[in-house]
Amino acid sequence: MRLSALRILLLLIPGLFLAACGSGESNVVQGNRAGILHFGNGTEPQGLDPHVVTGIPEMNIVNALFEGLAVKNPYTLEPEPGVAQSWDISADGLTITFHLNPEAKWSNGDPITAEDFVWSWRRALNPAMGNQYAYMLYPLVNAEAFATGQLDDFADVGVAALDEHTLQVRLNAPTPYFIQLMDHHSTFPVHRPTIEKHGKSTDRFTRWTRVENIVGNGAFRLKDWQLNRRLVVEKSDTYWDSDRVQLNGIVYYPTENTSSEERMFRVGQLHYTQTIPLDKIPVYRAKEDSPYVNAPYIGTYYYLLNINEPPLNDVRVRQALAMTVDRDRLTSTVLHGSNVPAYSITPPGTLGYQPPTLFGYDVEKARQLLAEAGYPNGEGWPGLELTYNTSEAHLKIAVALQQMWKDALNIDVTLANQEWKVYLDSVDQMNFQMARRGWIGDYVDPNNFLDLFLCGGGNNSTGFCDPVFDDMIQQQAPRAKTREERYAIFDAAETRLMEQMPIIPIYTYTSNHLIHPSVQGVPSNLMDSVNFRYVSLENELGVIE
């Protein structure tokens, strides 16, 4: 290495630095002027095929590019017209007729027909497709049989195009939440000629969702997609309701590191963040005109208990553990008041349903129960392992609870964090004693939480099995005539569940976002769902300090 080489190296470095300086206006200022929303989206979308994707980041994009029969009003969460102008529900609740908007078009100008839906739902339910959300369409007659390969002829499935703009569906049982499901991406229509041009209709990995190929029917169309960098959509002029769309475009950023996301927000690179680091909550909450938005979210954070294994096979031990979690203290300290203590699996206020509360924080009673179970003051305690996936928040909660149990019951709980896929495997195989779990509702209905615990259910993961409970959820509740009657059945079922305590509810989720004050039309709602049709940007508000 001669001096000359060294000198070149030394000259290169300042060059790197000089390219700096003068970063100009922030994204937010520019975006407010141009009507472009800069949206922190959590992670890189895995794909854009509505019948393939599963995550929330994907949903945020797919909802902008596609539209189902009905959409959710972000303020009330009530369904409102999407591709369907209106719908009629038969008196017995078993038949729904959707009247499609003749103005509804694909982004290439083709009209959207009822046949498009039939074809799309056939694709969504096709077993070869491997659609993980196919069950969203299971309320349809024979849909489940078709999706599991027991029925080959799709003509027997309860969906039919009566004419070009009329779609009729037949249901197994009255399903009050069915219209809500029409806003879920697995029920969205997809453009048949485009998909067939790029491969078999059920191929998951064709190139039809690329920028140059994709045809959608939403308020926006795909403009640019750079992996792990950004995805850009622009307003679609073929959208039937484009007059009401106020944004000219949205830029989605894969912000998987929450601290980085918060810093991007702070320097005005983002209008909206997917979440906020726990320790930043008090800082933002203290600000005037705080951009921090915290609202109830339809999800429950809980610990699964493997009820087949000692010491958790004794219901008294499970109850003692549940009673000695000081949820109020946990949420007010470690969680900075960002979440709400939970004492049941169903989040309170799910469309008016209030879950039963069977227990509270009660150290005395818990000690007594533990003594009855044979471990007075923790003597003879065989030990218990808590499994959780690696995450700062899960760790903090686990550490806090570990000490609460030690203090209250004098028992040792060891912690075992696992890498995400290992953790999933442990839960799936029930290879744990106690494991952290969260459930976010797919739709707003208590059923979505309670049916987790059916005998042998794929998401049960506790060993809980109660035929009476199953009968209430599967037979009695769907036949209920009124909402009150239905909720009374749910209440009784949830009471049975929580008496057995196969889970320890810890808190009800909340959505936590930083939203720039210039962003309008993003109300908090239970589904944490953003309807980009409603979003607008106010130009006058500059960068927040």
């Binding site: 320790d279 700062e392 000490q403 075992a416 964090n417 890498e419």
Partner: protein, 295 residues
């Protein structure tokens, strides 16, 4: 540095052994002595922690939460209201143990491997170094996850896993040193004298390659301590309420704006260790370098 050097030469020529000689020179290097003193102190504290820690390392005070340094808690408290000084003392036990033991494992494998490959040359060298390439290329994370599944979570595995990755660079450095030393006259002389390869490697090559190895070792120890934190995220390594400096630092980094003391003090502990190691390493290197000392 003339006078001590002359003194050294005289002493060396009076027949003191290499090690006595080295120690004598080391003891004249104030920074190296400082480094040694700090390390000894830290190891002493780590050993005595269970008896001298001001608080219990598990006891929470959730209502207190994270507080800046105060009379009761000299280095503040973490978000669970636990005393940071206690946390750092207990963390040091793990970190120092991992740092020294895992590095020793890496050293042992790396030096042996590199020395043999470098000395033997030819086909043996090619096969051994290509094995190093292979291990370099394997996806480390998957490897760790598998190790855990097969053997479960334990500290021995932690040392092995860290040693298994850290020895690779060591082997490469050792090999390149030995390769260049091998060509030198004194080695050729030793060969012509009929000394066995093992003796030549042990007596002539390893001592002469010690400089870069000591330097690399002092760099490996801190990176091993941080690697331990990463392995903890994968589920290997220490589990709460146990902690380590690497973990304290990575958690402190998350909230450095809100609670800077959670980052600062573990950071200082680790930095002090690192600097001490480096001073000591430099001192050792200089002290052991016979030719350099006679220059």
């Amino acid at each position: 540095m003339t006078t001590p050097v002359i003194a050294n030469i005289i002493e060396a020529e009076q027949g003191t052994s290499l090690w006595q000689d080295a120690w004598l020179r080391l003891s004249r290097n104030r920074l190296a002595l400082f480094g040694l003193a700090v390390l000894v102190l830290f190891i002493l504290i780590a050993t005595l922690t269970p008896w001298i820690a001001p608080y219990s390392y598990t006891q929470h005070n959730l209502d207190l939460g994270a507080t800046p340094p105060s009379a009761a808690h000299w280095l503040g408290t973490d978000i669970f209201g636990r005393d940071m000084l206690t946390q750092i003392m207990y963390g040091g036990r793990i970190s120092l143990a991992v740092g020294f033991i895992a590095t020793a494992v890496a050293l042992l494998i790396g030096i042996t491997w590199g020395a043999i490959a470098g000395y033997a040359g030819g086909r043996v060298d090619a096969v051994m170094m290509r094995m190093v390439d292979i291990i370099y290329a394997l996806p480390f994370m998957i490897f760790i996850v598998l190790l855990m599944v097969v053997f479960g979570r334990n500290m021995l595995l932690l040392f092995l896993a860290i040693g298994a990755v850290e020895w690779l660079t060591m082997a490469r450095i050792m090999r390149s040193q030995v390769q260049s030393l091998r060509q030198q006259e004194f080695v050729e002389a030793a060969i012509s004298l009929g000394l066995s390869p093992a003796t030549i490697v042990r007596r002539h090559l390893i001592p002469n390659a010690l400089g870069p190895i000591i330097v690399y070792t002092t760099l490996t120890i801190p990176s091993v301590m941080l690697l331990e934190a990463f392995l903890s995220f994968l589920g290997l390594g220490v589990q709460p309420p146990q902690t380590s400096w690497g973990l304290l630092i990575s958690f402190g980094a998350e909230s450095m704006e809100e609670y800077p003391w959670l980052l600062l003090y573990p950071g200082i502990a680790m930095t002090l260790t690192l600097f001490s190691l480096n001073f000591l390493g430099d001192g050792l290197r200089d002290a052991l370098d016979v030719r350099g000392a006679k220059d």
